[in-house]
Amino acid sequence: MVKFFEAKNVVKRFGGLTAVNNLSFTVSQGEIFGIIGPNGSGKTTLFNLISRFFPVTSGEIHFNGQQLENLPAHKICNQGIGRTFQVVKPLRRMTVLGNVMAGAFLHTSSMGKARTKAEEIIDFCGLTQFKDSEAKSLPIAVRKRLEIARALATEPKLLLLDETCAGLNPRESEQAIGLIKRIRDAGVTIIIIEHVMKVMMGISDRILAINFGSQIALGSPQEVARHPEVIKAYLGEDHA
């Protein structure tokens, strides 16, 4: 059977620095797969490798029977992988509707169809009241949501979420978690990077913990949270 998503011995070096060191993992369809790790451990680099913003140094990435690591970055989206950015990148001088339509145009050239699709997704993400606002005028919580909406408009099978809850207050985080669960229930597989442990423990089916680019633990949230290496990486030697 073809695995839904598989990373095999993925390595990324920036000169002498190994940012991602021999990572291998698989994600099955319908799963929420969490990636945790201290600052600078290589989480976002891993996303950039999957979405082909960076070329891999060595290793293979497979998705839905397709090998990804030699495709140009814009083709990744065609394969069914959507992503958001940790530092949000809204199309600032476009409206929320325009932002989401820009994503929806991947599968249609018709203005009408793109607009209908975008309106559906805006509604799904709870952004209806901001539909006609310019993206640059939005508060951070709404921008984060817009990132997700825009990626959803490309109809991804796999969604890469990079710190969707960072910078949100607890109430906004709750809403973001609700949205992520709704996306999963709609049949989209999710790989999520998050610092807020409460969020990760609550929604992930499995978690991969990395530090200095290498895997330190992989398993259910409880297993990972109890893993001595993870505790060491987060709290220091004494607590392990």
Binding site: K75, K89, L91, M94, F105, R150, E172
Partner: protein
């Protein structure tokens, strides 16, 4: 939304009808001459705007396309004895062909490379056309003997050129391509993540931009009947001026370049009598003021006013109703 769209088209139609009626009201050749120049500049501005305004790829060398278009018409006549009107077909194509290699090379990179390459291209063409004297007549320029001298005729040809340019640009901008171009301008990474092949779409904007600038050049040759490299390949009077014209009118707006061109030509003509060659100074100062007080140009400023008025009237988004998020 649809109602606003219909009103916009109605407005455009009224402007067009008015423009068609003008030569029957204003008969003085001098006034028609000014209007023809406005249309040439509005065409260059609209073409530049597609690339620089909507796509965010600023070109400092549109004179290259303008000059190539003009020379295509002039040299056809000089060397092959063909009517310079054939230049209206050849000029735009040659301009687009000149643009293609620059786009293919520079659009793979980010940053100022395209702007710099265009700056160089304009200057290279100016020097080439000055020094390849056997082919281009060099600094002596190219003179043609126009068969038609009726200002009214040129007015209508110029109007057609401008209307076609405006229409094609409008249709490009208000389609999937337009959304992709603006996405690239706003954030290239985000655009890539949405599956937009950014290099390809930058070229999609460049080619029509060069094409219509070349068309304006060919028309200019037919109209003024004399060009030399320092006129049509001029860095400050063409390449940089078109940027100022668009900035004044409103970057990334349908009517901005046309408005900007109108003001530029009108001011130039008005102050030429009193200030001589310092007349551009007035335009320069005005551009500075516009940028300071209306950073989105005249059209952008009007738009802001309209929105303020509209919003205060109906209490649409932006009105602080406390509740930021509701899910």
């Amino acid at each position: 939304m649809n109602k606003i769209k219909k009103l916009n088209w109605l407005f455009a139609l009224l402007v067009l009808l008015a423009a068609i009626a003008v030569p029957w009201v204003i008969k003085a050749p001098y006034h028609l001459h000014i209007l023809i120049l406005v249309m040439v500049w509005a065409t260059i501005g609209t073409a530049w705007n597609l690339l620089g305004g909507y796509t965010g790829q600023v070109s400092f060398g549109h004179a290259a396309f303008f000059g190539v278009g003009a020379y295509a018409a002039g040299l056809l006549n000089l060397h092959y004895g063909l009517s310079p009107w054939w230049g209206m077909a050849l000029g735009p194509v040659v301009a687009a062909l000149a643009a293609l290699p620059i786009g293919l090379i520079c659009f793979r990179l980010r940053g100022p490379y395209f702007a710099l390459a265009m700056l160089a291209l304009g200057e290279i063409f100016r020097l080439m056309f000055t020094n390849l004297t056997e082919f281009t007549n060099g600094a002596k320029g190219v003179l043609i003997m126009p068969e038609i001298t009726s200002k009214m005729f040129f007015y209508y040809v110029g109007l057609t050129v401008l209307v076609v340019t405006l229409l094609v640009t409008y249709l490009i901008v208000h389609s999937k391509i337009g959304y992709y171009l603006v996405s690239i301008r706003e954030d290239q990474d985000a655009a890539t993540s949405l599956g937009i092949p950014t290099t390809f779409y930058k070229n999609v904007a460049l080619l029509p931009s060069a094409f219509f600038t070349g068309l304006a050049g060919a028309f200019y040759m037919n109209y003024v009947a004399f060009i030399d490299p320092n006129i049509v390949f001029n860095l400050s009077n063409v390449s940089v001026m078109v940027i100022l014209v668009v900035m004044m009118g409103g970057v990334a707006t349908t009517w901005g370049p046309t408005i900007g061109a109108g003001i530029y030509i009108a001011l130039g003509e008005y102050f030429r009598a009193t200030l001589g060659s310092a007349n551009v100074l007035v335009f320069g100062i005005l551009v500075c003021l516009i940028i300071m007080f209306m950073p989105n140009g005249i059209i952008g400023g009007l738009e802001t006013l309209k929105q303020k008025f509209f919003r205060s009237g109906t209490g649409l988004p932006g009105g602080g109703n406390g509740e930021v998020l509701r899910s």
